[in-house]
């Protein structure tokens, strides 16, 4: 895919996740009575995705709701197991690691969640939310624990005096900071940020984006930054992955992607991003909506909405192939 030096920090190989809904009693009963046979409904949330993230890189993962970007984030963070494929951590299959190595690999990848309200336990004090994990995992001796906690809270811009408070006593922006502190407390190398700033007001968003930039410097962090907001992703990422209905359709360095998007979906997405403009503009939207992942269209998933769709697009799914150094796109228009 992209030119990179050495072993990537995280590499996904052919990652798929299927969610299966077995027919319930009523559906099986109607099947017995002779209507259409009940069959399990399968959602291919993530469908054969491969990518690599180098140490120190910020990779943006962009897509609309239901495209599978959160599921992919959870797979990478190790919160759910893939149906197929594997995740390599520093070149080694994470599923094969055992004992202390497995634990270290898990701690090294942490996740920051979208909703700063539901992702914090309302009955725990900030000191426990942030401080419990490093203590349990033996990262800090008990004697130094208070100082460690104060340091982490200060780093994310919270007053250590707030450690005794509960989440409901904080504003949305402060809660985001608590979520970030919790992830940082176990000294991770890789952070999966799943729509981490989507729920915040514009001026608070800017504060949190700045915090992410500062922390990257301070802790030498690597991010997978998941968002539907292209503006934010453009600002923070070195490289961008565009996802549509479970598949990656394009990947490119940020500047190149915005300068010359290749895939028709990327082009449409970039054209629709609202930007600060001095003039009123006319919106020329792409037609249609994202199809249901329960019943994705055959061939290229984007073909029903694509202005350039050909006969081949309806039958054959395009592979993600390299179109330039560091760039790949999954579209038949590129030939091959």
């Amino acid at each position: 895919m992209s030119a990179r030096a050495g072993t990537p920090l995280i590499e996904a190989q052919g990652l798929s996740k299927r969610f299966v809904k077995a027919p319930d009693l009523a559906e099986r009963a109607t099947a017995l009575l002779g209507s259409a046979a009940a069959r399990a409904e399968v959602v291919r949330a993530v469908d054969g995705v491969s990518f690599a993230v180098a140490k120190g890189e910020v990779v943006g993962l962009v897509g609309e709701s239901g495209c599978g970007k959160s599921t992919l984030g959870r797979l990478v963070a190790g919160l759910i197991e893939p149906s197929e494929g594997r995740v390599l951590f520093k070149g080694r299959d994470r599923a094969q690691l055992v004992g202390a190595e497995a634990k270290a690999a898990r701690l090294a990848v942490q996740m920051i969640f979208q909703d700063p309200y539901s992702s914090l336990n309302p009955r725990m004090r900030v000191s426990a939310i942030v401080g419990e994990a490093p203590l349990v995992h033996g990262l800090v001796p008990r004697a130094e624990h208070a100082a460690y906690l104060a340091d982490i809270l200060t780093r994310v811009g919270l007053d250590p005096a707030y450690a005794r408070r509960f989440p409901h006593q904080f504003s949305g922006g402060q809660r985001s900071r608590i979520g970030i502190a919790r992830a940082l407390a176990v000294r991770p190398e890789f952070l999966v940020c799943d729509e981490a700033i989507a729920a915040l007001d514009v001026s608070i968003q800017a504060q949190i984006v700045n915090l992410f930039l500062d922390l990257r410097e301070a802790y030498d962090l690597t991010y997978l930054f998941i968002s539907h907001d292209l503006g934010v992703v453009q600002h923070i990422s070195d490289r961008i992955l565009i996802m549509y209905l479970g598949r990656i359709v394009e990947t490119a360095p940020t500047a190149e992607l915005f300068a010359a998007p290749n895939h028709p979906y990327t082009r449409a997405l970039l054209a629709e991003v609202p930007r600060i403009s001095l003039e009123k503009r006319s919106f020329r939207p792409i037609e249609g909506e994202i199809p249901s992942p329960l019943d994705p269209p055959p061939g290229c998933h984007f073909h029903p909405r694509c202005p350039f769709a050909m006969a081949r697009c309806r039958s054959e799914a395009p592979a993600l192939v390299s179109i330039a150094p560091g760039r790949a796109s999954a579209c038949h228009l590129n030939g091959g």
């Binding site: 514009v202 001026s203 453009q234 600002h235 609202p274 600060i276 001095l278 006319s282 020329r284």
Partner: protein, 336 residues
């Protein structure tokens, strides 16, 4: 505060709506929340006014006040809302009821606030028409079908028989917009109608709103937290902060050369391509509680330009033609 009744810029067309020094306060147990505190603006026929601000700045309450939808403990304590030559403040409920849905309509962020989940789309649309017009049921249903076709819903005859849960989020918002426009209103108030939608669907809805206003000459107030959306959609923009409009003027002027430090801060908070990876110009601190506003300028504590004189509440001035700003120290040097 003596604010001018209308925008300083002479409107090209007669104003559909003129709001002057509107104050809507909520009398809670904890004290008086001054959600809207001296707001003045005007909207002309066919014009889109963008009302921008962060959560809790009073932009939605302004919209609800116009429709007479403020419930106790809130009430309009002073000011006037001039619509079609009548002051709506203190107008009898029966008169407001006749205006709502026919002359003034509202589109909400969540279309399920407009749609009744247990009624079919046609039932609700026909009801909305018959509440304000004396025509037959069949004619009303025909109107409903045309309205759905006009908002770009494919197979409108089939959608009429659908229940709201059978439609996607974008489709529901289209139905809500069709209902808002169905009685050819003079004014539509749209409260964050695209915030919950994906980028490509948002563009479709923005396109639709633009088209409808252009075709029907309806005046529109587009309430949003998203400056980027508003700058490309609206003719004029009013920026709200802590219950007051701090700046208003033509959209291009406000965005191109903001006069108020808050507008400037908001624009700086929006990630842009120019400064990738660079810290955003964030606004420090957070919005003050409307229960306990500091004396003087409400933005003083977060303002980089604040000085002694800001201890006195600023009045509205018009330092440039067609512009209004509520600040003692506006950014006059930046605007050419």
């Amino acid at each position: 505060m003596t604010a001018p009744a209308a925008a300083a810029e002479p409107l090209a067309r007669p104003a559909t709506l003129e709001v002057a020094d509107l104050r809507t306060h909520f009398f809670t147990k904890a004290g008086v929340v001054k959600a809207v505190d001296g707001v003045s603006f005007a909207v002309a026929a066919g014009e889109v006014l963008g009302l921008v601000g962060e959560s809790g700045c009073g932009k939605s309450v302004t919209g609800y006040s116009i429709l007479g939808l403020v419930d106790p403990p809130g009430r309009i304590v002073s000011g006037s809302i001039c619509f079609a030559g009548r002051d709506l403040v203190g107008a009898p409920e029966e008169e407001l009821r006749r205006l709502r849905g026919s002359r003034i309509a509202m589109i909400f962020q969540d279309p399920m606030m407009t749609l009744n989940p247990v009624l079919r789309v046609d039932t609700q649309m026909v009801e909305a028409i018959l509440a304000h017009r004396s025509i037959g049921r069949r004619a009303a249903r025909e109107l409903a079908r045309e309205a759905l076709a006009q908002v770009g819903i494919p197979a409108p005859e089939r959608r009429l028989r659908a229940y709201p849960h059978e439609l996607s989020g974008g489709m529901r918002q289209r139905v809500a917009i069709a209902i808002a426009f169905i009685n050819a209103p003079d004014l539509v108030i749209a409260d964050e109608p695209t915030t919950a939608l994906d980028v490509t669907i948002q563009a479709q809805i923005l396109h639709l709103a633009q088209e409808l206003c252009r075709k029907t000459g309806t005046a529109m107030i587009w309430i949003s937290h998203d400056l980027a959306v508003v700058s490309s959609l609206a003719d004029r923009v009013a920026v709200m902060y802590a219950g007051t409009i701090v700046e208003q003027g033509r959209a291009g002027d406000v965005v191109g050369a903001p006069l108020h430090p808050y507008t400037r801060g908001l624009l700086g908070s929006v990630p842009s391509a120019v400064a990738r990876g660079v810290r955003l110009a964030q606004i420090p601190g957070m919005t003050p509680s409307l229960l306990d506003l500091p004396p003087g300028c409400r933005f003083r504590a977060r303002c980089p330009r604040a000085g002694e004189d800001c201890g006195v509440e600023p009045t509205v001035s018009s330092p440039r033609p067609g512009r209004e700003v509520r600040c003692w120290r506006p950014h006059l040097e930046a605007a050419a």
